[in-house]
Amino acid sequence: MRIDALCKGTPPKRSLLTKTLLMTTRLTAVLLMTACLQVSAKSYSQNVTLSEKNVSLKKIFKEIRKQTGFLFFYSDELLQQARKVDIDVRDAPLKEVLDRCFKGQPLVYSIVANTIIVNVADRSSPPEAIPPDPILVRGRVRDSSGNALPGVSVMIVGSAQGVATDVNGDFSITVPSNAVLHISYIGYAALNIPVNGRSTLSVTLHLVQSAMNDVVVVGYGAQRKGNLTGAIDQITPKDIEGKPGVNMMQLLQGVSPNLIIQQPDPSPGASVNFNIRGVGTMGDNTPLVVIDGITGGNLSLLNPADIESISVLKDAGAAAIYGSRSANGVLLVTTKKGRKNTAPTVTYDGTYGIQYSKILFSPLPAWQNAIYKNESLTNVGQSPIYAPADIQALKQGGDHEWFLKSILHPAPQQSHYVTLSGGGDHSTFLLSFGTVDQASNFVGPDYGYYRDNVRISATSDYGILKASGTLSYAHDNLKTNSYGNAFLMADAERTPTNFALQDSLGRYLTNSVLTQFNPLGILEAGGYQTTNNDDILGDFSAELSLGKGFSIKGAFGGDVHFNHSFLRVKQVDFYPQGQYGNLRNTGDAYSQSIFTNVNLMAEYNRHFHEHSVGLLVGTANESTTAESSNIFYNYTDSALGIPVTGSVVSTGSATTAQSPYVTSLNSVFGRANYSYMNRYLVEFDFRYDGSSKFAKGLRWGFFPSVSAAWKATDESFLQGVREHFGEVKIRGSYGILGNQNVGNYQYLTQYSSFTPAYGFNNSAVAGTAFTFANPNLTWERAATFNAGADAVVLNHTLTFSLDYFNKLTSDILLPLTVPGTFGGTLPDYNAGKMRDEGWEVSVKYNLNGRKFKQYFSANIGDSRNEVVAFPGGQQLYGDAEMQTVVKPGVPFNAYVGYKRDGYFQTPDDIAKYAKLTGITPIPGDIKYKDKNGDGVIDANDLYVLGNPFPRYTFGFTYGASFQNFDLSVFFQGVGRRDMFVRGELVDPYQANYSYNIFKHQLNFWSPTNPNAAYPILSANGSPSQQNDYIQGSNLYIFNGAYVRLKNVQIGYTLPFGLSRKLRVQKLRVYLTGQNLWTLSGVKFLDPESTEFNNSLSNTNGANQSGRVYPTPVFYGGGLDVTF
């Protein structure tokens, strides 16, 4: 803590130049000292105990810093003028102690934030004007939740005078009427308030959000944000409050840059896609989730009200300590604990609202639909099927409600969370209960999702031992129809509106379009499927502080997970014909997994003058055992679903012996960090993992990273920047991260029995299938570079983070493309190379007036992946019309197809231009670009048409409060994505269900509309249909960019006085709305719809056909109460 060197040659003169220099020096020192905070979040007292005789101020300052954490700024020259002091105080307020020390000194001090600035007492200032008469100012200081803040420093700017607030947060001080009060409190943003002659003041201090001194949870520990060297973003409850999301994953959408959440299917209980920094591997891209230090938890089963913080570890510097699982990023979830020395507090947070289905496309009246149907036939030389009289009859018969409307209805959604927490001197506790219930918009019996959560957490200090434990239980239940949403939607939407779902007798009708099924009948009477999860997650840890910065810690945790799903198909008879569910299936599937995680760590943190050193070394084991069983019966009892005479156990039934597995991972990990003068920080992390997924000799992998940071504005030459702008830190990291997300036992050739394989004389026999081993299987490695900067500027009102990353993943674990001649598939191989490159920016800005306060928070990130090498050169994957490709130089699984080049307008045009083999088009059909100019359109004319993964994902929040009212508006979206939609929403009178056209499809080609959006109407099987719609082309590529008003909240908090009368600490009521408005490149479908999961595997094929549960729009209200 020496700054002599810095201050040499800057004698305290009164010139402008030296003032600036001095100020620069001063700020540099502040930054320097800030950096000396310890890794652990230690809480400082503001009281001081000192007993010294005839000691230098310097020594006293040192002691005070030790006790309070307050930093001193001074230069040695300055202190040479000071005399030595005697002092003897016990537990005295800091200010009192300082006042004593400075009494009679030629020096004054002022406190700015948690820094004490020592300056020369300004005796020579001329009496410029007669000072105004002093006035007595009374005031009260509260935090943003309205709680009184005791011990807040209230200083008159420019003098050493000041007071502190009392236990009620009140203060009184006599000041010149034109004085400015500097109000500061540790951890809060300091305010300068001009008195302007007022005699009463009401002051609200705000916690310094995301400022450099926030504590951020990192792998196996916590660090001050200012001391981070890796790329870590922290999400706090404020980011998700009041948003009516059902699970954590949905709530995280848009809150952190490059934490990419997609909800391909918005139906209750459907899973979401999540990625950190996009897609970096051709294998599994799922980030690692760590809950309270235990890896592998299930984020979607957590109670959102239990979340204290979520750290998003993005780069190698942050994530390497998780070694073999960290290449896709890590989410570190920390749950709430009780606080020490807090009276028991109960909080309730609940929302209730109604979800409305918003369908973005609509049918035509049946008679118009019929006219276009005729046109589609006559265009290709076929006879019309509706005579004028038929069309007249349809017109007179009128239309029934569109089936899709009939099977959807508004549905409630609600959540209720109660937390009881508190703590004494040595222990804390927290109990929480939560329930959330989202009903389905489909009609029918109780479809929807609910989840109940219970959590108990306690901590206790016993001497040098700190112990803590958490036990939580979650139960959820998803009840859906027995048929599948996609087909229900499709059957309902593509039936023309001249048909009815039910007759006057209530019978479910079939018709000439829907011959077999009636979606209403299936929903109301066709049975159901339920899926439950029961999850018990617990962790217990104990930490021993052995003194001198040395501690050891052990943690044991685990997750016991049960999943049960039950299918019950009930037979429904339709009229005049058709049956649903005549198999009368009853299916019962059960699985359980037990995961355990043991960690043992030793940690050492010490400061030696300018040097700070931290060391951590640990070992861990993670093991999973899992088993499952299922039984499926057909022809069960129609009332109870139980097996009866005639029931048959169907194929696929399995006992627990069929697929149990055990996996294990042993690890040694560590971290070493060092900082010099708290300005230059460097950190080394590693993990050495051994996995049961790989053969002996190949199973151990070493994953190191090195990262460094430079607090640039601590440098003296940048002191001006710091003064006028703020703090800036520059970071960089490089490391190797791993990925082991592959199936088990792949290094062994596996022979697995399956039945029935075949039969002889009507008796089934088993067969054996085999998968050849890849004995050379080993880790996937991602070399990750990151550079970033953090800034906190404009008096802590604006924080800014910027990162660039570049990740090259090699030895990607993927199943090799195999010639068909090989005759089988192969397990994963370490093959392929892929780059993922991008950036992210986040900005937060607070604009606090006295009554009107606003904040802005925005984030945007981009990730662009590109295949670098792929064994076999390239691979095309077909799905319906569209194909995706994996080949070097283009994004992973990019869409490929033909490119449209307008339409054939004349027969002459057709004669001249390249065509598809075997197809004779007509005017109005699509012309495709003949890429290689060989006169024929074939596989050599495929273009890369788009990247299915979202880019430029962003979120924007605006918040404002005026007195007791608050408002927040949250937008979220995607800047660029290519979306593939095929099927009836694009292709009118589509192949197999050629009975309808929707309103959005009417801009089709005709001689008078030669530049239409869609080609000429044509009939199933015709060459035109083959030419225009059976080919994958950019006809099917839509712009999936969107911006969505995801959430709006308007709240009112009861004034402090009123809520105190009601004996509540805080009461806030609010209105909240979700998915209120969307602007999108695709108009007839929700732009979030995608067929891909987070690893770009096509797992939601129905979404390509637009058969997606309509995105619900939610309107509701909520209540937050703290007792």
Binding site: S753, A757, N761, V765
Partner: protein, 543 residues
Amino acid sequence: MSHRNKIYLSLLIGLVGASACQKLDQAPTYEYTNLTYWTTPDQASSVLNTAYSQMLPNDYFFYNEGLSDNAYNGRGDADNVFSISSGSFNPSLARFDQEWDAHYQGIKTCNVLLDNIDLIPNYPADQKTLVEAQARFLRAFQYFQLMTWFGDVPLFVHDITLAQSQTIPRTPRAQVLSFVLSELNYCQANLPVNTAVPSASLGMITSGAALALKARVQLYEGNWAAVAGICDTLINTTTYGTYSLVSSYSNIFSPTNEHNSEVILDEEFVPLVRTYSDLFDFIPISAGARDNALAPTQELVNDYLMTNGDTITDAASGYDINNPYANRDPRMTATLVYNDYVWTNPDGSTQIIYIKPGSDPSSARLNEYVPNGGFSSPTGYYIRKYYDPTAAAGEASGLDLILIRYADVLLMYAEAENELGQMNAGIWNQTIGALRVRAGFTDAGATTFNVAWDAGALRSIIRRERRCELALEGLRIFDIRRWKTAETVLNGYPHGAQYGDPTIDNGFVRLPPRSFDASRNYLWPIPTYELEQNSQLTQNPNY
């Protein structure tokens, strides 16, 4: 550190130490590995069962008819038969690669079995030979299917590595052919005759099957003498099994008459357990179908003779275009469904299938022909053959699919003898005559041999007979390819019944046109994907 704290420390370390780590050496408990598999004869049998299951995908059996002029795939593009028959495809069409894969997967199973069977200790030699012979038959059958579609294909008789599969060239078709024939010779010598198969093993491959397959292979080559010789052996001796015609044509395909005397090779299904549901999209809608995806064509219907043995175009045939289904070959009724057909429901009751538009007295009109886009048949005909009244919901049927039946042997014999110029009344009576009598023809004009027929006339008669007898059994596409008539019958419009615009094609429903390019389509293209994966592969001409 206080004493007490030291205790806690030890406890803590003890706790962590006690929760012993799972070992990193883990092996599956629910399946065998290469170290543990090849230990008992049952393990070999189990792999053999897999090879049986890969014999022929049931979808191909049915939908291949849509590749020919027998049926039209009007809904979807099952197995790409619409794309292929309409000519609008290129070598990257999925079916080509799926076909390639399906056969090489079967070959792999056989090769892995044959390569490893010797690892099994104490395997009785006769049992082992039996398993080997079945595997070699199945492998030969796969190669036969491959060479029939693709011509030259990579031929190998031991399991190949990934690296080998990336460089293996195509073997000339002639070598593949001679391999198939020599393998079948081995099989015919080492497999039991059908009458020696124990009832529990019914469905296993026999020496007769090996011989019959050899006849089919030679037939496709046009090696008439070989065909005639093999068929003669099968017909006139019992050395390789005992076969005869089932007395009722429709009873050949009855679930109560599986493994009948006519079955030489079949693919086995097990009711409720191993089933296929193709008929769910074939039979009349009112009989329980979901919709129609494959419908017989007017061209097939037209080829059925009148009961007097005349074709419908013969002046004296008595054919009435207004009552077109009267007095026709009885096999037509057993094969397909036409307007006013009397359908027998599973419970024995009957219903009339009203297909002609406007003829259904009920309002449902489920089966009626609807031009373009209906759920009903696009041709006005439905499929009856292989309808299983005992099928489970969704027409999930366990009825075995017959791949080679004795009637085929008779037809091969007749064709070969005729091509050899040796057709006579005796052979006629033994073959075409016998089939017609069995079919229910009674008119001598249909059943007796006419010495006035020359070889060309006989060729037409035999080919028509083959088409009608074996309709919807998946063989027509191979026949028109080997006869080189595909370029004639697969170009132009297929038709449905006479429910269309009377000004077009005499009112017979005109369906989207087919296209067949004789310069290249007699061989399928080598799949694009395979060419990409293996630079040694070459493409067939003109693709």
